[in-house]
C-alpha cells in the first residue's frame, strides 16, 4: 500500500553528536533517543519535519527541510504563485 509519509528529509550525522540530548527533548514524536552519550535516530519515519531538532542542535548534526505539512496552505501557495507555503491558521 502506498504510504506518502514513508520518507522525509531528516538527516542525522552521529559523528557530530556530542550527546547533549536536546534533540530527544524537543522532538514531539520521539524520533531521537539518548543511549549513553550519543543520540540515536530510532524513528526517522515519524518525523514531521517541524525543524525543532535541527534548530536546537548546536553542532549541526541534524539537517531537515522544515516546513508546514498542510495541504490547504500548499494549494493556496500554488494558486497564488507563492514560493514558500506558510500556514494561515490560528
Amino acid at each position: 500500500m502506498f504510504n506518502a509519509y514513508k520518507t522525509n528529509t531528516l538527516q542525522y550525522d552521529p559523528s557530530l553528536c556530542t550527546g547533549c540530548g536536546i534533540c530527544a527533548d524537543v522532538c514531539p514524536h520521539g524520533a531521537f533517543e539518548m543511549k549513553g552519550k550519543l543520540a540515536y535516530l530510532i524513528k526517522a519515519q515519524d518525523c514531521m519535519e517541524c525543524g525543532a531538532c535541527q534548530l536546537n542542535c548546536p553542532f549541526n548534526a541534524i539537517q531537515v527541510e522544515s516546513g508546514v505539512g498542510c495541504a490547504s496552505a500548499m494549494i493556496r501557495a500554488a494558486l497564488l504563485g507563492q514560493k514558500e507555503s506558510s500556514c494561515s491558521c490560528g
Partner: protein, 324 residues
C-alpha cells in the same frame, strides 16, 4: 486590547494575572474554537506576575493567544511565577514557532524589553516544548544570557514537571486524541459553511453528506479508518458513504431504463468520494503528525484521481439531467 503601560524610564510594568479562568475567558475560548474573530484572541505581550513571585520564582514563556496564555496560567494553580508573553500575533505556540514569530529574536527582545534580568535573580526561562521549532535555545543563551529550558508539551503537566525539572517521555509526546480531534470539528465545519448552505439550497443531498463526512466524521474516525494517507482515508469514507446514495438512486424508479438508473448510481459513486478525499487531504494541516514531504507526495499521488473522478461525475450528472 489595553495600551501598554510604561513607567517614566520607558520600562514595561509587570502586570498581574491569576490562575483562575473567568466566565468571560471560557466564552472567549468557545468563540475561538468556533473560528469567530480568529486573529482577535490576544493577550497583551509582556511580563506578568502570577501570585506573589519573588526574584527566585520560575519564568514561563508563552504566546499571546488567549487559549495558550489561559492554558498555562490555569495549569499553574498554587504556583508563584512570572509569565513572559511573546508577541505571536494571536497565534498559538506551535504554529507561531513554525512561522518563526514564537522565535529566537522575539524571545531575546522580549527579555530585554521587560528587563527580566533585573526582575529575577536566576537566568532560566521555561518554554513549552512546542516552541522549539522557532527557538534556538543555545542562540538565546548566547544573546541574552538566559538559559532556555524546554518544559513539557502540555501546560497541564507543568506541576509534575516542576518537581524535578525533567519531563517523562510521555510528557514530551504530541498526541491527537479523540478529544483533540473533536475540538477541531467546529473550525472545520465553519470553513465549509458557505458551500454547505448553497448546496443545501440547491438540494444536493449527496454533496452535503460528502462535505459533512469530510469535516465532521473524518476527524472523529481518523485512526480507525484503514490506510495511512489522509486522502485514501477520505476516499474510503466517501466510498462507504456513496453506497447508500447510489443504491437509493438505482432502486428509486424501477420503471425507468436500467442504464439510466445505473448512470444515476454512478454519479453518486463518482462525486462523493473525491469531495471527502479532498477535505481529508486538507485536514493534514490540522493534524499533529504530517510532514511537508509527505503532504506534497499525497498531493501529487491523489489530487489527479480526485479531479478526474469529480470531473467525470459532474459531466455524467449534467448528461443524465439533460437526457431525463
Amino acid at each position: 486590547m489595553k495600551a501598554t503601560k510604561k513607567d517614566s524610564c520607558g520600562q514595561q510594568e509587570i502586570q498581574t494575572t491569576t490562575s483562575t479562568l473567568s466566565p468571560a475567558n471560557h466564552w472567549d475560548h468557545i468563540l475561538a474554537r468556533w473560528a469567530v474573530n480568529r486573529e482577535g484572541h490576544r493577550v497583551e505581550p509582556g511580563l506578568y506576575a502570577l501570585g506573589n513571585p519573588t526574584a527566585e520564582s520560575p519564568v514561563f514563556v508563552t504566546a499571546n493567544y488567549t487559549l495558550s496564555f489561559d492554558a498555562l496560567r490555569s495549569a499553574l494553580k498554587g504556583i508563584e511565577g512570572f509569565i513572559l508573553v511573546l508577541d505571536t500575533k494571536g497565534i498559538n505556540v506551535w504554529c507561531a514557532a513554525g512561522k518563526g514569530t514564537f522565535g529566537t529574536d522575539e524571545l531575546v527582545n522580549r527579555i530585554e524589553a521587560t528587563r527580566l534580568s533585573e526582575v529575577v535573580s536566576h537566568r532560566n526561562v521555561i518554554l513549552p516544548q512546542l516552541g522549539a521549532p522557532g527557538v534556538a535555545g543555545f542562540e538565546v543563551t548566547k544573546r541574552s544570557h538566559f538559559k532556555v529550558e524546554y518544559g513539557p508539551v502540555r501546560a497541564q503537566d507543568l506541576p509534575k514537571y516542576l518537581k524535578s525539572h525533567t519531563a517523562t517521555p510521555e510528557m514530551r509526546r504530541v498526541h491527537f486524541t479523540f478529544k483533540d480531534r473533536l475540538t477541531l470539528i467546529p473550525v472545520e465545519f465553519v470553513s465549509v459553511l458557505l458551500p454547505l448552505i448553497i448546496l443545501l439550497l440547491i438540494g444536493s443531498k449527496g454533496t452535503v453528506a460528502a462535505i459533512l463526512a469530510g469535516t465532521v466524521l473524518l476527524p472523529m474516525l481518523l485512526p480507525w479508518i484503514p490506510t495511512h494517507d489522509l486522502s485514501t482515508k477520505g476516499f474510503i469514507l466517501g466510498g462507504v458513504l456513496a453506497l447508500p446514495f447510489a443504491m437509493a438512486a438505482f432502486l428509486k424508479d424501477p420503471a425507468s431504463a436500467l442504464w439510466l438508473r445505473s448512470a444515476w448510481a454512478l454519479v453518486y459513486a463518482l462525486l462523493i468520494p473525491p469531495i471527502t478525499a479532498f477535505l481529508a487531504l486538507n485536514f493534514t494541516g490540522s493534524t499533529t503528525f504530517t510532514s511537508r514531504t509527505g503532504v506534497r507526495r499525497e498531493m501529487f499521488a491523489y489530487i489527479p484521481t480526485m479531479a478526474w473522478m469529480f470531473g467525470v461525475g459532474l459531466l455524467l450528472n449534467i448528461a443524465v439531467i439533460f437526457i431525463h
